[in-house]
Amino acid sequence: MLVCAALSAGAVSCAEDDAATQGPTATQRQGAVTHYAAVVYASYQESAARVDALKVAIDAFLDAPSAQTHQAAKDAWNSAREVYGQTEGFRFYDGPIDGAGGPEDRINAWPLDENFIDYTRAGAGLEVQLTGIINDPTAYPEITAEALIAHNTASGEKNISLGFHAVEFLLWGQDFNADGPGDRAFTDYLTGADATAPNSDRRAQYLRVATAQLQADLQQVLAAWAPDVAGNYRAQMSAEDPDLALRKVFQGMGTLSGAELSQQRAFTAYAQQDQEEEHSCFSDTTHRDMLANALSLQNIFEGRAGTFEDATRFISPSADTSLYALISAADPALADRIRAELQAAVDAAKAIPAPFDQAILPSNPEGRAKLLAFVESLEEATKGLVAGAAALGIKDLNTELAE
């Protein structure tokens, strides 16, 4: 035991070989799965509530377009993103969000084919190209949920036309500003005698429909995680071998950390160095996305759900059902190491300067260094998560399959 404890302070946990006898009990494992499901549900519940609030704000904006109602809609979008980003650790294991029939590609697909939706310019001050579904009533007479779903990732294609980023584009517009987000004017939505932009009624209809679809898609995911519903995903997960369920939990975290967030989102932006090589490019809120994703990892590990300001607002960790507690039962030093690594990733995310599109440019070595530090913190955290899973007897975790 002494040897084991000494070794386990190193990179590799020796508890891996005798987890069955020294690790957490079956009851603890089941308890962790149960708690995880509660964290997932609370996170989606808040996410859905904030998208409902976004719909209310957008309806108010479209009913009476003004700078104030426009800003209120944008604030509501930011509020919804803050919580949705914290659900992305629940992806990557064929669960309700991105398994068969899951709506992830309608909620959060990227890059958005903005040209497929509405007018664009090739650059600041350049001529407007009046393209997209909104500006083509002949080819797209009706803007309905069914029509937009049919066009979104149609026939193996990915003309991404729905989701958070579609709503974002319709609120902010293209971003040609070095020091701020896109500056679409609220007048794009004035209709009738006040109209100043072509097809504003269709633009408003598109925004209403896309937001309503976002609501519906989140409700679909929420239903799969609702408690005490026979046969839903949560019920199935609760009924399966807790080690199988825990494998999914770790695979979701490990893939978000190891492949998706660190590589596909953060390092790819770092390497490409293109302004707008960022997920929330219209609103310039990608730094918040990064933080929300990092918090998602920490939330799952600690067994909590909350906001940027109050990390335990919706669910507080219990002493013995967090992943931290579970791994502690097998290898306390390893559990502390992972906790520190995830905290380092969250801290590194907070240090990424805004706007993200400027932070990644070659002219900003300081911003780039912060982003690379975030990448490295996640690479380390991923090793910790793989070791943590192994300490629970979950071997050969695949963290390499990004979106």
């Binding site: 903005e114 664009t120 090739a122 193996g156 990915k158 390092f267 990004a402």
Partner: protein, 487 residues
Amino acid sequence: VTTTGTIRAGAAQVAARLIIAVLCRVGLCAVGLCAVVGCAQDDGQPTQDESSARPGGALTVEVTNDTAYALPAPKASVEQRRSFFVGNSLFSNSWVTAPSSVVGRDGLGPTFNAAACASCHVRDGRGRPPLAEDEAASDLLLRLSVPGDGEHGEPAPDPVYGGQLNPRAVLGVEAEGQLFVRYAEAPGVYADGAPYSLRVPTYEVLELAFGPLDPQVMMSPRVPPAVAGLGLLEAIRAQDIEAGADPDDLDGDGISGRVNHVWSARRGRVEVGRFGWKANQPDLEQQTAGAFLGDIGVTTSLFPSENCTSAQALCLAAPTGGAPELEDDSLAHVTLYLHLLAVPARRRVGDEEVRRGEALFREVGCGGCHVPTWQTAPAGSDEGLALLQGQTIWPYTDLLLHDMGEGLADGRPDFEASGSEWRTPPLWGLGLQQVVNGHMFLLHDGRARGFEEAILWHGGEGQRSRDAFTQLDAASRAALLAFLGAI
């Protein structure tokens, strides 16, 4: 011949393999004989079983689910792994219409087949032909050319439609046309009386936007193959591929085996072709750049002009996503991504039926072209990535062109490949295609509904092996198919 020696790269090993290939072709192959290649006994080197169980060498991953083609080389460095994921992002995420905010990802079309590599190479796997007569082809593309050669010996494009039919276009530009396929069943029987049926395709191009195709047009339908392991094929030295060629069939085994010599746009010279259904691309960079242009409509420094012919005014007038649209560093990331995609480990290692199938694979002569094992460029050489060097790999291809008979011929020459020649495709990983892609369509246009039909389609240089297969009893045929399913 007894089994001796360690695995060594170089001429001696290649020569040994060739001798064995020849012996196998003339029917002198015994199970132990071919074990001379890639195996060794008492010196700590892997046995043949151990080696072939890890067909990608160090680039082998133990995985049997739908991610089997999608994983990076386990020993990639931190820097390589990062580049891999940048490449994955560019391979998987869709390209968008220019102009767009995401300048590094705009420039789709104006005409195109798909908006992302991964649209057709789903999970880095193989695409499929349409499933119904009224379903327009999506993954399946159609190459077009007219008699004559281009500047560097490449096929001359259709003057109006270009070198490839693009069935989609960005808003405001005409898609070129739609490809449809109908199949007619052609029944046959094995020597033991068991029936089989092959489906013979007929292709039709409809909804042509600019009038009929050229009266002399030659068409070649092709499905996208899986892309895992391609880096290792590039790591095979050109001289080793050349050494396997027997263009005049001097050994009289009925198998010629020719190298396609193709144009390298990067180096401005003729090189050994190794990628594509007719080995018309010299390396992964050019294969990738060619696919970006032909399939997605995205330009690169290698192929800087949009593929709009002079007849396509709206296509020519459409905004571009920069010059080039895929910048050199991005092309390098995608190319490295393809170099690093690992090969899934063999399944059912040591299984008796699979072992028997492997012996039959040799006995009926499959290995004459589907050469089981190769050594990549020696470690420390200046060819390719160090990670890919010095590997014993089991791709089951000679990377050479073979006349496959009239049944499979597309009648469309491509550099030195004739209208009836095809490059031997690698077989590794195919046993997981069903799991990864949900279908088992094989051959260049996906007409075969599994290994069995693919074998039965072999004509020309493959006729003798195909006939030998039809003479096998049911259990032997099943064993051979089991082997193919396990590699």
